[in-house]
Symmetry: C2
Subunit: 646 residues, 2 copies
């Protein structure tokens, strides 16, 4: 019988942090070094920096002109001009030049009347120290330039040099060793081509994610090569690292509650496991330990878990090494746009899209899968659901920690509804034109998109709903579901829908009439999806009972998802768009050309970001890119073809 | 007669930018390179990145447990448990492992009842694809990972690797050559000790400031050694740089309207001067030009001018090279706390302190001197006064561009009033304790401080106002000037006031009675300063007519400023604190121990930041540091000695 580790003593994140941090010696955390001033940009001072010399360090001219002795000019006036002899009464000086000895004021060039090479006339007196930058006028020797624990800016570097500080004492940047573990982990540097990748291998992406996060927090990362599941080997590597003066060791993966619980065994044998298991999701299997005074973190293997564990436990340590505090989070209150369930006893970290729709900020949850890398790159914020709360309800007003600037949230457009590849192209076109536009898209099907618009949770619905009665798209649905809202319908693309089948069509599928064959398994789109409605319409046309189709109840949410199901052999056939079959090198049996529209409440048409979108989809460059994908007709893209008064 | 350059065709900043940017070829601005994914952190994509493989790239277990064929488990229930044989009906799998061929679901370990080594019992059926991470569940091959012109994050790097993108196309980082010019400019690397510095030399701080700003904007800076005023030499260096593939050349200084207008002559001879003179202050003498297609900027010599010119003209170019837009500024509306005059026809850039006092944001202007480096490191914001506006009036509500986070502004405390070195120590103590506290101090004298409190422009007044009638400090002034406001008076320090004289006291000054001597020149503090009031009190005690003192009308605003005046020989004597004379190695004749207090409206005492300050000044570490400076008695520091009901 296999032994399985159970999280007997799971800790809350706060408990875990306290236990871990209090085990670290404060002297361990603070190592200073002295560096050249020119290398000190963005380092953190470990000592206050005081001016060693005054700035300026001499009396200098603050203007171009002539130096004079003020009291010798007191008689000058409009009616009694005074003539000065250059070389005797006065000397030429330029801005910044030292005041010649014996002089105490500068008369600017604009106030001089030059009589000849040697003689000048002035018509007003100078007062003492006029137009003179006096010693220490800006900074006096011994004055504080910057306090300790201060992040050094470009300006500080200028001030350091000018005040005579050429070497600066700063906190040492912590050295972090990242050890990827797991026999299945493969470095991308070890493969020549992607073909070498099999289901036995997982590419080591976490080490590079973590090393970039270390760098972002001013640490110095080192990545070890992947270590197979071998306790002895891992111990040797750690032993070696302890001699090499690493400040922190991070062991990635190998920490799930599976059989390969090598990390905790090794830490237990060599030092102390302080925490094993934290009541957070994702990130639960985090291990925090210490070996001979060196902190060691067993980071979970899934990328989202690894990054949450980094944020909670590694980032604060890296900052503490450098005398920095974690920056306070940017918090925004937003309305929950969809129910988000959560288990009691676990603190849930949910990545969300956040946008401003009308006057309200709206958040929509992304996938919660700990392995969903795409959520890391798409989220604008994180919502934390505390241990004692059973989820969030639609319409609730809660706090979001922003991962982007608040201004990005305000420039963010929510396109919720049916999925189409044109939305990806749109995102890239926006960046190509360097537009300050951030597009968040949610795939909930065409009907879901209309309902989202109705509730005020999105700016735009992407929809391709066929009205079987009239043969037209979207209009009758808008009239039914968006009653009372004035909307404008723009065409995005026309596109081919058809049957996606295995390469070479091995089952010889000819059309929807074959879907009821005993030897054919199907994968469907979810209820409310335009493609589902189109399929049902076609089935009805052919008099086919949907219940006779094997797999009619298997639902997926995107064109790509059904194409993947076919590609990987889960199903023989699916209904979807040509572009999806082409992307995965599958075969395609065209059924119909349908219309995909963007439905926009007319009140939003004046928004800058919405105008940008209309302009983008009307542009030649967008149209050409869509056309070149195949299966798309972009000749009507961007055309306003219907306004409905609601 | 010397020829002097006049800004005949001064341009507005917008005109200047347009002329400069439109002269640059767009192909020149966009150079791509392909780099390893692990080096791509914070670089900017020049092409969109699409997934080359799906993620996950195989069907894998999403849980620890056993793999099954779902349809073989349909009969299992609480009343009819099903027994599975390991190796035949089922196989053990760990999270992340590939699903063994022929299986389509995973039952998690918690749902299993192990009968013996080979037999398991289940009491519920599995459904197809339960607990399975399907191919492409997260990312489908061909899907957009990030668009072009995107700053690569740590997460993106993880997603690049896992989706098979090991090389990334990015914009090249621009190479910038910085050439400091001027025969007086000296590199700090060329001197062994600060003693070598004379009034003939200025340390080259601008090149390091500019190179850090280039780095901050992701460019690669190179600093040339300082070039003396020699057109031929400068031409050679530029000629050489043009061959070496620099993307931008910055010539610093040598561009004032003085005699050394070498930069513009050189650019004119070698290429084209596009703009000479911009209607901004500071930054007016900026030169923008182009030589053989390479942009070249003549940056003004004063540090504040140099940095404004960088922000306006160099930063946007560096970002454009890399496909980035300038981030939008953080704007805050704040009340002007003091009149700020401005000339018509010039756009004024004024650095300001910004803080939240009560419910309002308040801004206070810092020194406007183009040479004031200290303003660069102290400012929280910049106010732009447009060309057509004659200054700002106290109480006006205007826009400030923040240079720090809005949260820093909210954690900022304004201590306005008399200057004391203890305020510097306080700033450093706050950072030593890693407190989220930002202290902005303004030196306007003790009375000025009370008036600032009264107007609601500051949190704390630093004051040492002696009431000659009673011999007590501050109370009678508070009663007179802060009528209607409930305040608490805390002692900050007691300190020695006396006469600051030249080292060795060459004029043999014994006390205030000597100030009327013919051979003694004095430098005074401004009206309203506590030290001025103290002096007048002492003069009266001795029956001395202030008008008989030579220099009584020469006013300076800080202890350090009067000490500097003595140090540099502008005056023989000044009234000030012991610490100022010690800092500049001057002699000191003690007159009186006085009391320096912090006066705080009682309504602010509950603010976290104010509590921190009281705690800091009561701490042993603060008291010891003040004591060790000499001339200070810190035994009462932090003591609340008076509450006044207003």
């Amino acid at each position: 019988m296999k032994k399985r580790n159970i999280y007997l003593s799971m800790r809350s994140p706060e408990e875990a942090k306290d236990i871990f941090f209090s085990s670290l010696n404060s002297w361990y955390m603070k190592k200073e070094e002295e560096i050249e001033v020119e290398d000190s940009f963005q380092r953190v001072t470990s000592q206050p920096v005081f001016a060693k010399i005054s700035v300026p360090h001499y009396h200098g001219a603050a203007m171009d002109g002539v130096a004079v002795r003020a009291e010798k000019t007191f008689s000058a006036s409009e009616v009694n001009p005074l003539v000065l002899t250059v070389g005797k009464d006065t000397l030429w000086v330029n801005t910044g030049q030292p005041l010649p000895s014996g002089f105490d004021a500068v008369i600017m060039v604009e106030k001089l009347h030059q009589l000849d090479e040697r003689h000048l006339e002035i018509r007003a007196p100078a007062y003492p120290w006029q137009n003179v930058r006096k010693v220490g006028e800006d900074i006096v020797a011994s004055e504080l330039i910057v306090p300790r624990n201060h992040v050094i800016s470009a300006y500080d570097i200028g001030a350091f040099i000018i005040s005579g500080n050429f070497k600066i004492r700063v906190w040492k940047r912590p050295k972090v060793l990242i050890i990827p573990t797991g026999s299945e982990i493969l470095s991308h540097k070890k493969i020549e081509s992607l073909q070498e990748l099999s289901s036995k291998n997982i590419l080591d992406s976490n080490s590079y994610l973590l090393s970039s996060l270390v760098r972002q927090n001013h640490g110095i990362p080192y990545i070890h090569e992947p270590v197979p599941d071998d306790e002895g080997l891992l111990k040797e590597i750690i032993e070696d690292a302890l001699c090499k003066d690493f400040d922190l060791i991070v062991i990635n993966a190998g920490s799930s509650a599976g059989t390969k619980d090598i990390t905790s065994n090794v830490i237990k044998d060599m030092g102390e496991v302080l925490v094993h298991g934290v009541s957070i999701m994702p990130g639960k299997p985090t291990i925090l330990g210490i070996i001979k005074g060196t902190p060691i973190v067993g980071n979970p293997g899934y990328m989202v878990s690894a990054s949450i564990s980094f944020e909670l436990f590694i980032r604060p340590i890296l900052l503490r090494f450098q005398g920095m505090e974690p920056t306070r989070k940017n918090i925004l209150r937003a309305y929950v746009g969809r129910n988000i369930p959560s288990r009691l006893g676990i603190e849930d970290f949910i990545r969300v899209n956040v946008g401003k729709v009308g006057k309200r900020y709206i958040l929509l949850p992304l996938s919660r899968s700990a392995g969903s890398i795409s959520t890391l790159i798409r989220a604008e914020g994180i919502v934390r659901i505390p241990q004692d709360k059973e989820g969030l309800e639609e319409g609730e007003d809660i706090e979001v920690e922003l991962l982007v600037d608040k201004k990005d949230v305000e420039g963010s457009v929510f396109i919720i509804g049916s999925h189409d590849i044109s939305i990806d192209i749109l995102k890239d076109e926006a960046k190509r034109k360097e537009l300050p536009l951030r597009i968040s898209s949610g795939n909930v099907g065409s009907l879901g998109g209309l309902i989202s618009l109705k509730k005020g949770y999105s700016h735009i619905a992407g929809s391709h709903l066929l009205d079987p009665e009239t043969g037209t798209y979207n209009v009758s649905y808008v009239q039914r579901y968006l009653r009372g809202i004035k909307v404008s319908i723009f065409n995005l693309v026309k596109r081919l829908q058809g049957l996606i089948v295995q390469k070479g069509n091995p089952k010889g599928i000819r059309g929807v009439e074959d879907l009821i064959r005993e030897d054919i398994s199907f994968v469907n789109r979810q209820r409310g999806a335009g493609t589902r409605i189109l399929l049902d319409y076609k089935l009805k046309e052919h008099g086919i009972d949907p219940q006779k189709i094997r797999g009619y109840e298997n639902e997926e949410y995107t064109h790509m998802a059904v194409a993947v199901a076919v590609k990987s052999g889960l199903a023989d056939c699916a209904m979807g768009i040509y572009a999806a079959s082409k992307a995965l090198d599958l075969d395609f049996i065209p059924i119909v050309e349908e219309q995909y529209d963007l439905i926009i409440p007319s009140e939003y048409l004046d928004l800058g970001v919405i105008k940008m979108i209309i302009e983008l989809i009307s542009s030649d460059s967008f149209k050409e890119r869509m056309h070149s994908l195949g299966g798309y007709d972009s000749s009507f893209s961007g055309r306003l073809w219907k306004e409905i008064d609601g």
